[in-house]
């Protein structure tokens, strides 16, 4: 019988108007990797925040290593109990060195009366922690901002290990990693498991869960729904349990449209002065063009240049046969081409403003006369998108109070309202649950099938490309390395191209 390391008993947490956690009980064994799944707003993050001390539970108990944790504790205390959490957005001090980050708030001390920091010991200890992760190549004296993203993640994990971590929570750790980097991370998770550390792994990516987890626990609407052993189940079982709905499936060949002859967007000799060189691409009316590739394939950079977010260094953009000189995002929208950013929080939404205001941000002219806004009209438009996209919230809700998936829906609504003919969706369903994904894919397809319109979808998820695209191109280091049409659009084919290196 394996040793129980962590138990939740009847945890309740309520926010104004929402039961975020409703009598949740579950337990975790020592040295096991458990996937925690659920749609957006299912309560995973809330539960983890209760554990890590960011939230205080209303009732129920948390038992860690046989001892009940106090009702209220800080995140720092949680670290010392042996609970560490690694968020999607890493929480490291970028201007400080690796070792200072690893030993922050419990620095080794020499000459006790003066509390001088023993940097020599700190460096040695840091190397010991990094060695546990096979990451000795990271220089403990380097500033964190100089590291690559996976290296930063290593530092986060080392920081957790440095306080004798028993339970490590990872919240969507592979979102910004390339495929190879993810593989490396999985090896490390395996090492942690062997060292007896319990890893709670939050992710939406099925293949990852089936690759590294021992068990999966599903939550829905703030409740514990059930759990399965990974060894004796299939991804479909899990998805069914999560949503209770049918999932997003690949398009059939019949649904995939053939290329029309009308070129709606034509890129000629596009150059960014770096990786992208002499790139040519045509987008046809009525199609959804998927762009696959790894992180670093410069897909986003290409999209941002076309849509005026960044400077176009060289080449021409023709829209419906007309050469367009696009200086900035405003110019792009005037030319009816829009770009849905991959980072909704940084540059996609005004978080402090309401759903309705965000919805009309790209085209305030449409809801105003002589500069005076017609708020009734705004409300109407916003209500309609909320209904269409099944966004959870009302028009007046501030976007910052929505879950990630619902925020993404607001961002999509905003661009659908922008009145563009061509929309580029960059990672449109990042961090969104499976059921909502299918809805968003349908919206993108519906948009592209309207007269005189077309869409581009940039995605790192291969099954997203197969589910939404009429045609797929693969980019690698700024070059188009492959193109797939019709029945060739299969996950294996895309993966083959994606992993092929560019020139």
């Amino acid at each position: 019988m394996p040793e129980k390391i962590l138990e939740f008993k009847n945890i309740k947490k309520e926010f104004p108007g929402v039961k975020a956690l409703d009598d949740v009980s579950m337990d975790f064994d020592k040295g096991e990797v458990v996937a925690l799944l659920g749609e957006n707003g299912a309560g995973k993050s809330t539960l983890m925040k209760v554990l890590s001390g960011a939230y205080t539970r209303d009732s129920g108990s948390v038992i860690l290593g046989g001892k009940e944790l106090p009702k209220q504790y800080t995140t720092l205390e949680a670290r010392h109990f042996g609970v560490a959490i690694i968020y999607q957005e890493l929480s490291l001090m970028m201007e400080m060195s690796v070792m200072e980050n690893v030993y922050i708030s419990h620095e080794p001390i020499k000459f006790a009366p003066a509390k001088l920091i023993d940097y020599k010991k700190m460096k040695e200890d840091t190397l010991v922690q990094l060695a546990k992760l096979n990451a000795q190549h990271i220089d403990p004296c380097k500033k964190v901002k100089e590291l690559t993203l996976p290296e930063k993640q290593m530092v986060e994990i080392a920081k957790a290990l440095a306080v004798d971590c028993k339970v490590l929570i990872m919240d969507e750790p592979t979102t910004s990693l390339t495929w190879e980097e993810s593989e490396k991370l999985f090896t490390i998770i395996d090492t942690l498991r062997k060292q007896g550390i319990t890893v709670i792994y939050i992710s939406h990516r099925m293949n990852e869960i089936f690759q590294i987890c021992d068990r999966a626990i599903v939550m829905r609407d703030g409740k514990y729904v059930g759990e399965i052993n990974i060894a004796d189940s299939t991804p479909d079982d899990l998805v069914q349990m999560m949503s209770g709905k049918v999932v997003d499936v690949d398009l059939t060949d019949k649904e995939r449209g053939a290329k029309t002859s009308n070129v709606i967007l034509e890129l000629e000799h596009i150059t960014d002065g770096g990786f992208i060189e002499d790139l040519n691409l045509k987008l046809y009316e009525g199609e959804v063009l998927g762009i696959g590739g790894l992180v670093g394939s410069k897909r986003t950079e290409l999209a941002r240049m076309i849509c005026g977010a960044d400077k176009l260094v060289g080449g021409t953009v023709k829209i419906k046969g007309k050469v367009c000189k696009i200086k900035d995002a405003k110019g792009a929208i005037l030319n009816k081409i829009g770009y849905l950013s991959e980072n909704r929080k940084e540059d996609g939404l005004s978080l402090g403003m309401s759903i309705e205001e965000n919805t009309v941000h790209c085209d305030m002219g449409a809801v105003s006369t002589g500069g005076i806004i017609n708020w009734k009209k705004v409300r109407g438009i916003s209500d309609e998108y909320i209904r269409k996209l099944k966004t959870k919230g009302i028009s007046a809700t501030k976007v910052m109070n929505l879950s990630g998936g619902n925020q993404q829906k607001v961002a999509i609504a905003k661009w659908l309202h922008a009145g563009c003919d061509i929309l580029i969706f960059d990672e449109p369903t990042r961090g969104i649950d499976v059921a909502a994904k299918a809805e968003i894919h349908q919206l993108i397809r519906d948009f592209a099938k309207e007269e005189g319109k077309a869409a581009i979808v940039i995605s790192s998820e291969v099954n997203e490309l197969t589910a939404v695209s009429d045609r797929v191109i693969i980019m690698s280091k700024g070059h188009i390395t492959g193109e797939l049409e019709g029945e060739d659009i299969m996950q294996n084919n895309i993966l083959k191209y994606v992993t092929t290196k560019g020139r």
Binding site: A329, M353, A418
Partner: protein, 319 residues
């Protein structure tokens, strides 16, 4: 949607926008109890008149703060533009022309700030700190450090007169606030200011002309400072190069007491700022009536702004 229960607890009242108003009412009641002269109509009118210069400056300041910036040069703009207006009046004996020159100067000075910040990407704090000295210095140089006197009659009656028994200053405050309230809440221009302050990068990618919006807020701030300078000039019947010292701090305080966030853009309201400006005027007036010495008045001012910021933190924690 679930119905939210109505709950009239103190917590709820303080957490809404009503908290500042409540604070103002409490403050007025305290003064009314302590001094019999406070609650007379003549004194209350006085308070409104005293709040005038600051209230008008605070309008521009609120826009600037909502767009995520700050303007430390408002007091200096007030001084320089009113001196320019005053000399014009003295030389031409034309009040209207003098007022227009002052307002024009304010717009240009504000545009100068805005241009450096929006188009050359200078730090707003540093730019306006520099122009605070620059404009102030120019005001001294321009007047030789002396007050500009001998203004035509009209300017005083313009600032101190009344229409329909209501002082002109109150009319000016009412009109400026009404227009700026409508612009902020009902027009695309105003919502763009909020959007830029809330998330500048998102606003840019949504096709909002971020640079123009920022330039606009600084022009408005310059204009409001100059308008305030005109009121000041009328009240003292002279153009003063030393006018408006540390007014930037009062304006920031009014906006912050009114709920604007100094660290995060996108938050703030005209109504809140007006209450904030009146609050400061009431405080100064009440303490003066009670014969509290000026040193203690400053101490009180400091405590009150801290309380207001504390209330703001409390509001957020309740949410």
């Amino acid at each position: 949607m679930e119905k939210v229960k109505k709950n009239f607890s103190l917590k709820r009242i303080l957490s809404g926008g009503f908290g500042t108003v409540l604070m103002l009412i409490v403050l007025m009641l305290v003064f009314a109890v302590l001094s019999p002269t406070f609650f007379t109509s003549s004194n209350l009118t006085n308070v409104l008149i005293q709040s005038g210069t600051n209230a008008v400056i605070s309008v521009g300041m609120t826009y600037v703060i909502i767009s995520g910036n700050t303007d430390l040069s408002v007091g200096a703009i007030l001084a320089l533009s009113s001196c320019i207006g005053a000399t014009t009046m003295v030389q031409t004996d034309n009040v209207i022309l003098g007022v227009l020159c002052a307002l024009g100067a304010g717009i240009l000075l504000g545009a100068f700030n805005g241009f450096l910040i929006a188009y050359l990407k200078f730090q707003p704090f540093i730019v306006t700190l520099s122009t605070m000295w620059l404009f102030r210095g120019l005001a001294y140089l321009y007047t030789g450090g002396q007050a500009v006197t001998g203004l035509p009659e009209g300017i005083t009656s313009m600032a101190l007169g009344s229409i329909l028994f209501i002082p002109n200053i109150v009319w000016i405050i009412a009109i400026v606030y009404a227009i700026c309230y409508i612009v902020l809440n009902k027009t695309t221009m105003g919502r763009k200011v909020c959007a830029v302050g809330d998330n500048g990068e998102s606003a840019r990618l949504s096709g909002i002309g971020v640079k123009r919006v920022i330039l606009g807020t600084f022009i408005l701030s310059g204009f409001c400072s100059a308008l305030s300078g005109v009121i000041y000039m009328g009240r003292l019947n002279s153009g003063q190069p030393i006018a408006g010292q540390s007014y930037e701090m009062y304006a920031i305080a009014a906006a912050v007491i009114g709920g604007a966030s100094f660290t995060k853009g996108g938050i703030g309201s005209m109504g809140g700022t007006l209450v904030g400006a009146i609050f400061i005027a009431v405080l100064n007036n009440g303490l003066t009536i009670l014969n509290v010495n000026t040193y203690w008045q400053q101490v009180c001012m400091g405590i009150v702004v801290l309380l207001a910021v504390g209330l703001d933190r409390f509001r957020k924690s309740v949410k």
